[in-house]
C-alpha cells in the first residue's frame, strides 16, 4: 500500500519538476499549476509516511532509505510553507527535482526494515532525528536559494540578460532569505547535534565517539556557524555567503548519501 503511495509521490514530484521547468523557461511564474502538483505530491507523501509510521513506528524514518523519504518530505513541506510568504516559484524548480531524486534514491537504497533494538526506543531518538532532519531540510532550501542567487549574480555581472532571469527575485531579497534560512537552520542543527550526542551518551556510553556522521555534522556545524558569525559581524553576504551555504550543504548531503557506504557508521540503521 505505502509502496504504491511512495511511487505516486515520486511521480508527482517528477511531474512537478517538469512543469516547473517548462513554466520557468516560458517565463511564466504566475501559474499555480506546478505548486499545486507539488502540493499533491506532498499530501500523498504525508499519507504514505503516516501509514508506514503506524506500521513500523519510528523505525520508519531511522533507516537510511526511509530517512531520505522523511527528509524530502520535510523539505517540500517547508518549501510549501515558504511559498505562502515569499512566492518563490523559481525555488520550486530546484526543490521538486531534489525531492524527486531523494525519493528515487530511497527506492535505490531500499528500505530493508531494520528493527530498532528495544533499548534504543526512547524519545531521544525521534527528537534527534526530527531536529537534525529539519535543520538539513532548511539547509537544502538555503542551497536552492543560494544557487538562484549565484545564477542571478553571474548574469548581472556579465551583463547577459535573459527572460528567465527576469523572473528571479532580486539579489537583495534572495540574500535576505538565505540569511533567514540560516538563522532557522543553525539552531535546529545545533539542537540536532546536542540531542544526538545526549542519546549517544545514554545508549553508547559516550557522548562523542568520532563516528563519521558526527564528524561531518561537526564540520558542517562549524561552517554554518562561521557563516552566521560572519554575516552578523563582518558583513559577509552576497556571493561568498551563497557559496559557503552551498558548500555546507554539500558536506551535509554528501555524508548523508554516501558516508555510510564509505565508512561504517552507527548511523543509518546500525545501532549496535
Amino acid at each position: 500500500m505505502d509502496a504504491l503511495l511512495f511511487a505516486l509521490t515520486a511521480a508527482a514530484y517528477v511531474i512537478a519538476s517538469a512543469i516547473f521547468f517548462v513554466y520557468l523557461f516560458r517565463g511564466d511564474t504566475a501559474s499555480r499549476l506546478p505548486t499545486t502538483v507539488l502540493l499533491f505530491g506532498f499530501v500523498v507523501h504525508t499519507m504514505a509516511l503516516t501509514s508506514r509510521f503506524f506500521q513500523e513506528g519510528f523505525a520508519a524514518v531511522a533507516v537510511m532509505g526511509k530517512a531520505l523519504l522523511f527528509h524530502a518530505w520535510l523539505m517540500v513541506g517547508i518549501y510549501l510553507l515558504m511559498q505562502l510568504k515569499y512566492r518563490l516559484t523559481v525555488l520550486g524548480g530546484i526543490v521538486s527535482p531534489l525531492a524527486f531524486l531523494m525519493t528515487l534514491a530511497a527506492f535505490a537504497v531500499g528500505s530493508g526494515s531494520a528493527e530498532i533494538p528495544p533499548g534504543f526506543r526512547t524519545f531521544w531518538l525521534p527528537l534527534h532525528v526530527t531536529l537534525a532532519f529539519l535543520g538539513n531540510a532548511v539547509f537544502a532550501l538555503a542551497f536552492g536559494v543560494s544557487l538562484i542567487y549565484l545564477l542571478q549574480e553571474r548574469r548581472l555581472k556579465h551583463k547577459r540578460m535573459t527572460a528567465l532571469m527576469k523572473r528571479f527575485p532580486s539579489l537583495e531579497s534572495l540574500d535576505r532569505l538565505n540569511y533567514t534560512l540560516l538563522v532557522w537552520g543553525f539552531p535546529l542543527m545545533t539542537l540536532g547535534i546536542i540531542t544526538g550526542s545526549l542519546w549517544a551518551g545514554i545508549h553508547w556510553g559516550n557522548y562523542w565517539s568520532w563516528d563519521p556522521r558526527q564528524i561531518s555534522s561537526a564540520i558542517a556545524w562549524l561552517l554554518y556557524g562561521a557563516l552566521l558569525h560572519g554575516r552578523i559581524t563582518a558583513g559577509l553576504r552576497g556571493k561568498k555567503a551563497a557559496l559557503l551555504t552551498m558548500f555546507g550543504f554539500c558536506v551535509v548531503l554528501g555524508y548523508f548519501l554516501w558516508g555510510d557506504a564509505i565508512f561504517p557508521t552507527r548511523h543509518g540503521g546500525r545501532f549496535e
Binding site: 540578460m161 539579489l171 531579497s173 553576504r237 556571493k239
Partner: protein, 428 residues
Amino acid sequence: MQNEIVIVGLNHRSAPIEVRESVAFENSYVRAALGRLRNYPSVREGVILSTCNRVEVVAAASDSQSAFNDITEFLGEKKAHRNSLPLEDHVYTYRGAEAVRHLFRVAASLDSMVVGEPQILGQLKQYYDTAQQAGTVGTILHRLFHRSFSVAKRVRTETGIGSGAVSVSSVAVDLAKRIFDRFDDKTVMLIGAGKIGDLMARHLLSQGVRSLMVTNRTFERAVLLAEKIQGSPIRFEDFPRYLTMADLVTGCTAAAEVLVEAPTVEKVLRDRKQKAMFFIDIGDRRNFDPKINDLDNVYLYNIDDLKSVAEDNLQGRSNEAEKAEEIVGNEVESFVRWMESLEQVPTITALRRRFEEIRRKEIEKSLGGNLKDLSESQRAALEDMTAAMINKLLHAPISQLKRNSGDEDDDSALYVAALKKLFDLEGK
C-alpha cells in the same frame, strides 16, 4: 443601411514629422473637428486620434470609398492653410476587417514606434472619450473601441510585450530592481546635475526612492536640481565621503575623467559592510573605473551595457510580438462576426416587410375583385392562411441565417448579400 469601419491616417512610417505635425489636431480643437467630420454625409460615426506619432480618423461609414475621399479631404482641409505638401502620398486607408486589425494593433502598441510602450492605450481612451462627449460615437465604434481596449489588455497580460524596458534610464531602473528588492530604504547619489541626471532621478523617484543626493562641479546647479527633486545638494569635492551612504550611484557628467576609482569603492564597501551597490555610468564619457564591476556585491553598467540590454529586450520581444499578432487576429475575427450579425437583423426585418407587402397587396387585390363576396369570417381565415404561408416560407431561411451567425466559418455575409440581391431589399 450597411455600415463599414474605415480608417484614414498617417503615422511615423507613412509620413515624415512635418506632414504629421501639419495635420495634427490640438487637444482643444478635437471636439470642434469632430463636429466638422460629422457633416460629411458618408461618415456615420467618427473618432479622431492625434498623437505625436500618428493622426488617424476611425469612422463607421455607409460607403467606404466616399468615406476615404471625404476623410482625406477633412484631414487636408486642416492643413491647407499651413503648407501644401500633398497628403494623398502619406495617408493609408483601411476598411472592414483590416481597419479593425489596424486599430487593435495600435491599441496593443504593436504599431508604435517603440513597440510595447504603454502610453498609446491611454491616449486612445482619451480620444475615444472626447468623441463620445462630442456625440460622434455610435453602436459600432463604441463596441470597436471597447474591444480594442480589452485586446490591448490581453496582449499586455498574455505576452511579454511591454514588460521589457525601453529607454536607457528605464533599463537602468529595471536592472536596479534585480539587485534591490525595494527602493524606499535606498539612497541614490547623482553625480552631475544635467538633463540625464534629472530624468534618471525622476525615474527612480517614481520607483519609490526617497533619499537623493545631488552633486555637481558647479554647486549652484546641484542645488537647483536638488530643489526640483527634493534631494540634498552636496559639494563636488565632498561627494566621495558620502559614497558610503549611497546604494545607487549615477554618473552623468560631461567630464572625460574617472571620478570614482575601484580602490575607493573597495574601501566604501568595507565601511558599509558589503551592502550591494549599483553604479550606473550613464554619461557619454566614463566616470567610473571599469574595475569596479570586478568587486563583490558591486555592479557597474555603463551606457553601452545599458543599450545592449535594451536591444536584448527588443529581440526577446519579437517572439512575443508573434503571440500578440495571434491574439489580435482572433479578436478581429470575432469582431467581424459581430459586425455581420449586426447586418442580419435589418436584413431579416426587410425580408419580412417585403413578403408582408406582397401579401397585403395581393389580398387587397383579391378582396376588391373575385373574392369581394367573402364573409367576415372567411376574410379572417384568408388573412390567417396567407400569414401562415409566409411564416412557413420564411421560417427555414431566417432560422438558417440566425444559426449561421454563431458558426466558426460562417457564410452569413454571403447569405445576407444573396438575400438582398434576390429580393431587392437594398432599394427600399
